[in-house]
Every structure is written in structure tokens, then in C-alpha cells.
């Protein structure tokens, strides 16, 4: 390729991909300010010029007539995500630390096999788990409760936490552990005082992945909670009926994805600092 043409090619490709990526958001944004007339008239894009914007859609998602209230689902989603992520991070880092530092040998099972066992849980399709979970939670009286959903979500997130943290701990020199022990720390203190404080980058990456997969889960919430506890994705999908109140749906969708979109800005900052590279190998 000619050196002169290369920049033109490069920026064209970037721009095209950017349009594709941004398209759905643009459409949702513009649609969220429409009303029935504007939608029925065919596809339009520019407010004021092509249609008269209204805030109906946005009013509807905050308890307006004919709409829903997204606040409670939002809170439910947040609680489940935060609780499940926290549990997964704690249990995950402990297990990852053990797998990174100590040698396990139970019969033919070695460390790498245990790590594989954790990570392999990601292969389990939710649909395989959901029926047994249903009966399990029913038996425990946790069906349609936040606690039940948290337990199930931990199964989704724990493998991620272990996967990220094992790699991260492997990157911390063992001499630090040894030094802490020589300095008088027992194993648990060694972990808490010498290793954890140096693991912030790894923990943040793990937390980010947990947040993304926790917040965006739909299937478990859909089948294991019904009326009492509705998560945000559930609430949005419920709006997607045959005659779509597109403006309400769009507003709800944007509201639902907004928190994690903000996360992207922060992930990029992390990426530029090179902190992700250690965790992604």
C-alpha cells in the first residue's frame, strides 16, 4: 500500500466500524424521544427536523402511565451484581492464591486440573443448570429472592475471578510471600498483608469482568425470579411485546446499559496504562 493512501484507508475503516458500533445506540437514543406517530411514520433519525421529540418514553420508565418503574429492577440488579461479585472475588482470590502458591496433588489431580475445573464451569450452558437450580432454590425457599439469585450468579462469576487471579498471582514473585513469612506472618497474614495490597490491578480487572457478566445476566433471573425480584434486563425484555412501545423500550434499554458503558471509559484508561496485559494471557 502506498504510504500516502494508508492514512485514508485507516481512518475510513475506523469510521465505518465506529458507525456500526454506535448505530444501535444512536437509534435507541433517537427513538427514545419519539411517540406513536413518529414511530408509525417509518424510520426517522433527526429530532425537530424529521419528528417532534417528546419525553414520553423517559417518563414511562420512571413510573409514568402505561410504563414501568425501572428504579426497583435497577436496584435489584445492582445488589445482585455487587454481592455476587464480592463473594466471587473473595472466594476466587483465596482459591487462586492457593492454586498459584501451593502444590496440590490428590490422586492424579494437580493444580492445573483444579484451575481447569474452575474455568471449565464457564462452558456449562445456563439452560442445563436452570431446571435443577429451580428445584434447588424451591426446596431451599429461595426462589424469587435476591439471595437465591446471588448464589446462582456466584456460579457464573467465580470461574472468572479464579481465572484472572491465578494468572495475576503467578506474576507476583514468590519471594514476597517467603519474605513475609520470614518477617513473621503466618499464611493468612502473608496473603492479606503482603500479597493482596499488591494485587489491586488484578482485583480490578476481575471485578470488571464480574460486573459485566453479573449485570448482563438475563437467563437465570428470567427463570428463577418472577414477581418479587425483577432485574433490569428482565424489566426491559418484558417491554418487548408484540406491539412495541418503542420509545419506552429504547429509554429503558439506554438506562439499563448506561452504568456499564461508563465502565468502558475506565477500562480504556486501565488498558492504556498497561495494567490489563498482565491479567489477559
Amino acid at each position: 500500500m502506498r504510504p500516502r493512501l494508508y492514512p485514508v484507508f485507516k481512518y475510513t475503516v475506523i469510521a465505518l466500524w465506529a458507525c456500526f458500533v454506535a448505530g444501535p445506540f444512536f437509534w435507541a437514543m433517537t427513538t427514545s424521544f419519539k411517540d406513536a406517530n413518529a414511530v408509525q411514520g417509518g424510520a426517522t433519525y433527526l429530532p425537530w427536523i424529521q419528528y417532534q421529540p417528546t419525553a414520553t418514553g423517559w417518563r414511562n420508565i420512571f413510573g409514568g402511565a402505561g410504563g414501568i418503574d425501572v428504579i426497583q429492577p435497577f436496584l435489584n440488579s445492582a445488589i445482585v451484581t455487587i454481592a455476587a461479585s464480592a463473594i466471587s472475588l473473595v472466594l476466587g482470590s483465596l482459591a487462586a492464591y492457593a492454586l498459584s502458591r501451593y502444590r496440590f496433588k490428590i490422586g492424579f489431580i494437580k493444580n492445573s486440573d483444579i484451575v481447569f475445573f474452575f474455568v471449565s464451569q464457564r462452558i456449562m450452558p445456563p439452560v442445563v443448570l436452570v431446571i435443577p437450580f429451580f428445584y434447588l432454590l424451591q426446596w431451599a425457599g429461595l426462589l424469587d429472592t435476591i439471595a437465591g439469585l446471588v448464589i446462582v450468579t456466584v456460579a457464573l462469576l467465580l470461574p472468572i475471578a479464579v481465572w484472572v487471579m491465578v494468572d495475576f498471582f503467578n506474576g507476583i514473585p514468590r519471594e514476597i510471600d517467603e519474605m513475609a513469612m520470614l518477617d513473621g506472618c503466618g499464611p493468612l497474614q502473608t496473603f492479606v498483608r503482603a500479597i493482596l495490597p499488591n494485587s489491586l490491578p488484578g482485583l480490578t480487572v476481575a471485578a470488571m469482568f464480574c460486573a459485566v457478566f453479573g449485570w448482563n445476566d438475563f437467563f437465570f433471573a428470567f427463570r428463577l425470579t418472577f414477581t418479587e425480584v425483577q432485574t433490569l434486563p428482565q424489566a426491559v425484555v418484558a417491554l418487548n411485546s408484540s406491539i412495541p412501545p418503542w420509545w419506552t423500550l429504547s429509554a429503558a434499554a439506554l438506562f439499563g446499559v448506561a452504568p456499564l458503558v461508563l465502565l468502558a471509559i475506565w477500562v480504556e484508561r486501565y488498558l492504556s496504562k498497561g495494567n490489563l496485559s498482565g491479567a489477559v494471557r
Binding site: 519471594e175 517467603e178 519474605m179 513469612m181 520470614l182 513473621g184 499488591n198
Partner: protein
């Protein structure tokens, strides 16, 4: 307060890391363990610290079994080759870390940290993070942390190996004063450098392939190396070791009449020997055995000329720095009165005498 290792052995994947290592480490003395890379020095230190399990053998302190004491109750401090510090703590935090674990009062911690940072010359650096320090300073922090605790056992694993020559020279000098002042502490210090071992050690232990080959005061180990291997390890460049014969008052090497037999070898029967001669005791002269220069290197203020006599390699150490061209033919003069004689298996038979003017001043 004596630390005794008895019959320590460790084999990993068929390689002996420790082979029946028996040694006693006395309080108030600095023990240097010298050996080449992979000789088992680090493994020995780690075993003493409790960081490395061994296959067999025992470890006692004042007769009490130490094997079942976990690392964190061993009263041992260690300084690593790779400047290991806690990356998240400041210099102060690093040195204070073990003191906090001991539950000392704030004032006491403050006092001890200041004292030990002053010892290593890092006063004023308290708030820096280790990553903001140079390699030499990082190693000083590690040493300060080890000293601050006042442990009974202090282990240093090639602490200067990763530093520049000049810094190494400087810290070596500092260490000499620093460690001579440690009261009843048992200090064990590993190194690959003979000069470091000689200079710092009260006792030198020579290790090779997992075994301890010789133990003794530096002077004795240097002047009376028990085997050719020790002779080669305790000298830098390694002592020239070459097979030869004593025949009719002459020492022959590779068929050449290299030199006459000097008085200290006169009693030996004719026959095959291995001879040892330090690089300092071979010189370039106008007459002597002929060799070809294969390589010239410069270390410190000395020039090491590597030359091959037939197939036998020799190293010649010349004071000062000189240009010698590769491939030149040179004549080597071997100083007969400096020859060590070893038997064919490598055990010491005769040493040259060092007519010491005096050993005062130490």
C-alpha cells in the same frame, strides 16, 4: 545459639541440590558459602530458613529440632539476590513491616527503623517507594529490614550479584563493618566471588554440586585448598590446573619441561600429578613454555590473558591494564615455588609455603 545442619540431602529430578550437607554455624560469626552458580548455595540457605523442605537430614538450634518450626517462627531474616521488597510499602513501611508483626510499640519501631536506615545510609528516603530507588538502594532497604529485626539468624543470598561492579565494591566495604557489629547473630552469606568470600568471611564453606568440600578460615581455604575443585572455586580467575609429571627433578607439562622442581616438591616421588598454579604465579616472559593467546579480558585493575599451551589452557594475570593481541605467541614462565601438587584424583599433596611476614592488622 549454634545452628547445626546434619546430613541434609535434597534431590530434584535426579540432580543433587544438597548432598549430605553437615555444617555448624556459630553465633557472632560471618560464614561465607562460596560456590559456582547451581552449587546448592541458595538451596542450603532456603533450607536453613525453612523455605525449602529437604529429603533427609536434620536441623537443630542449640540442640533443639528446628525442622518442625514453621518459617514464621524461625527468627530468621533473609536478603535475596533480586532486591526483594514489598512494592506497596514505603521504605519506612518496608523496614517497619517485621517490627509491626512483632507487636513493638510505635516509638520502638520508629527508633529501630531510623537506626537501621542510618546504618545503610538511607536516612531521608523513608517516604520513597522501592520502585523509586536504584538497585543499590533497594538492596540497602532489604538489608535494613533484615538488620532492624535483630534476628538470631541472618541469611544473605548473593546480595551483591545483581549490582554494578563499583557499587558492589562499595557495598562490600560497607558490609564488612556492618556485619562485624551484629553481636550474637549467625550470619550466612553466599557468593560466587572469591574476593567477597575472603574479605567478608570469618569462616568460608566451599560448595560444589550440593556438597560441602571444605570449611575453614578464609586464609586456610585459600592457601591450602583440599582439592583441585576447591582450588578452582576459591580463585578468580580459577587456578590453573594441569596434568603433568615429576621426572628427574623436572616438572613436565604436556611433554614440555616446564620448570624445575622447587624445594617444597622435592620430597615427592616421580610420577603423574595434577599441578595447580594461580594466574598471578604465571607471567609472560622472554623465555618459557610457548602458548598462543586465545582471549584477553580485563577485570578490576588486572588483565587476564588466556593462552593455550598445546591443548592445556592457561590464564595469566597481569597487574594493570594492558593491550595483548589475540593469536599472539607468548612465553609463559611458571613460578616453580608456587606450584600446588594434587594427586591424580585431585586431592592436595603439597602446597607452596607462604612465608608470612605477619598476619597482623586483622
Amino acid at each position: 545459639m549454634t545452628l547445626s545442619a546434619t546430613d541434609l540431602s535434597l534431590t530434584v529430578d535426579g540432580v543433587d541440590h544438597l548432598k549430605s550437607v553437615t555444617a555448624t554455624f556459630e553465633p557472632g560469626r560471618l560464614h561465607t558459602v562460596i560456590g559456582r552458580t547451581m552449587a546448592g548455595k541458595t538451596t542450603l540457605l532456603r533450607a536453613l530458613a525453612g523455605l525449602q523442605e529437604v529429603d533427609s537430614g536434620s536441623l537443630t538450634r542449640d540442640g533443639a529440632d528446628l525442622m518442625r518450626t514453621p518459617v514464621w517462627r524461625r527468627d530468621t531474616a533473609m536478603v535475596y539476590q533480586q532486591f526483594i521488597n514489598y512494592p506497596h510499602l514505603s521504605v519506612f513501611g518496608n523496614v517497619a513491616f517485621p517490627l509491626r508483626r512483632q507487636g513493638l510499640s510505635r516509638d520502638e519501631i520508629q527508633r529501630r527503623v531510623s537506626k537501621s536506615l542510618a546504618l545503610v545510609g538511607l536516612t531521608g528516603f523513608e517516604r520513597r517507594k522501592p520502585s523509586q530507588l536504584s538497585g543499590g538502594q533497594q538492596q540497602r532497604v532489604a538489608v535494613a529490614r533484615a538488620l532492624a529485626r535483630g534476628t538470631g539468624i541472618l541469611l544473605l543470598d548473593e546480595p551483591l550479584a545483581n549490582l554494578d561492579y563499583k557499587l558492589r565494591e562499595q557495598l562490600r566495604d560497607e558490609f564488612k563493618t556492618l556485619f562485624s557489629d551484629q553481636g550474637d547473630t549467625i550470619v550466612v552469606y553466599t557468593t560466587t566471588e572469591p574476593a567477597e568470600a575472603m574479605m567478608l568471611g570469618d569462616v568460608v564453606l566451599v560448595m560444589h554440586e550440593g556438597r560441602i568440600l571444605q570449611v575453614g578460615p578464609p586464609q586456610e581455604v585459600f592457601e591450602r585448598p583440599a582439592t583441585t575443585t576447591v582450588a578452582s572455586i576459591i580463585n578468580d580467575p580459577p587456578m590453573n590446573i594441569f596434568p603433568g609429571r615429576i621426572e628427574g627433578g623436572q616438572v613436565t607439562v604436556a611433554g614440555f619441561q616446564a620448570t624445575h622442581v622447587s624445594a617444597h616438591l622435592a620430597q615427592l616421588p616421580d610420577g603423574a600429578y595434577q599441578f595447580g598454579l594461580r594466574a598471578t604465579d604465571v607471567s609472560l616472559a622472554s623465555a618459557g613454555v610457548e602458548g598462543a593467546v586465545t582471549f584477553v579480558e580485563i577485570s578490576g585493575s588486572e588483565t587476564f590473558v588466556h593462552a593455550a599451551v598445546g591443548k592445556t589452557p592457561f590464564v595469566i594475570q597481569i597487574e594493570g591494564i594492558h593491550d595483548v593481541a589475540l593469536g599472539d605467541l607468548v612465553k609463559l614462565r611458571l613460578r616453580p615455588e608456587r606450584l600446588y601438587a594434587f594427586d591424580e584424583k585431585g586431592s592436595l599433596v603439597r602446597t607452596p609455603s607462604y612465608d608470612l611476614v605477619s598476619v597482623g592488622g586483622r
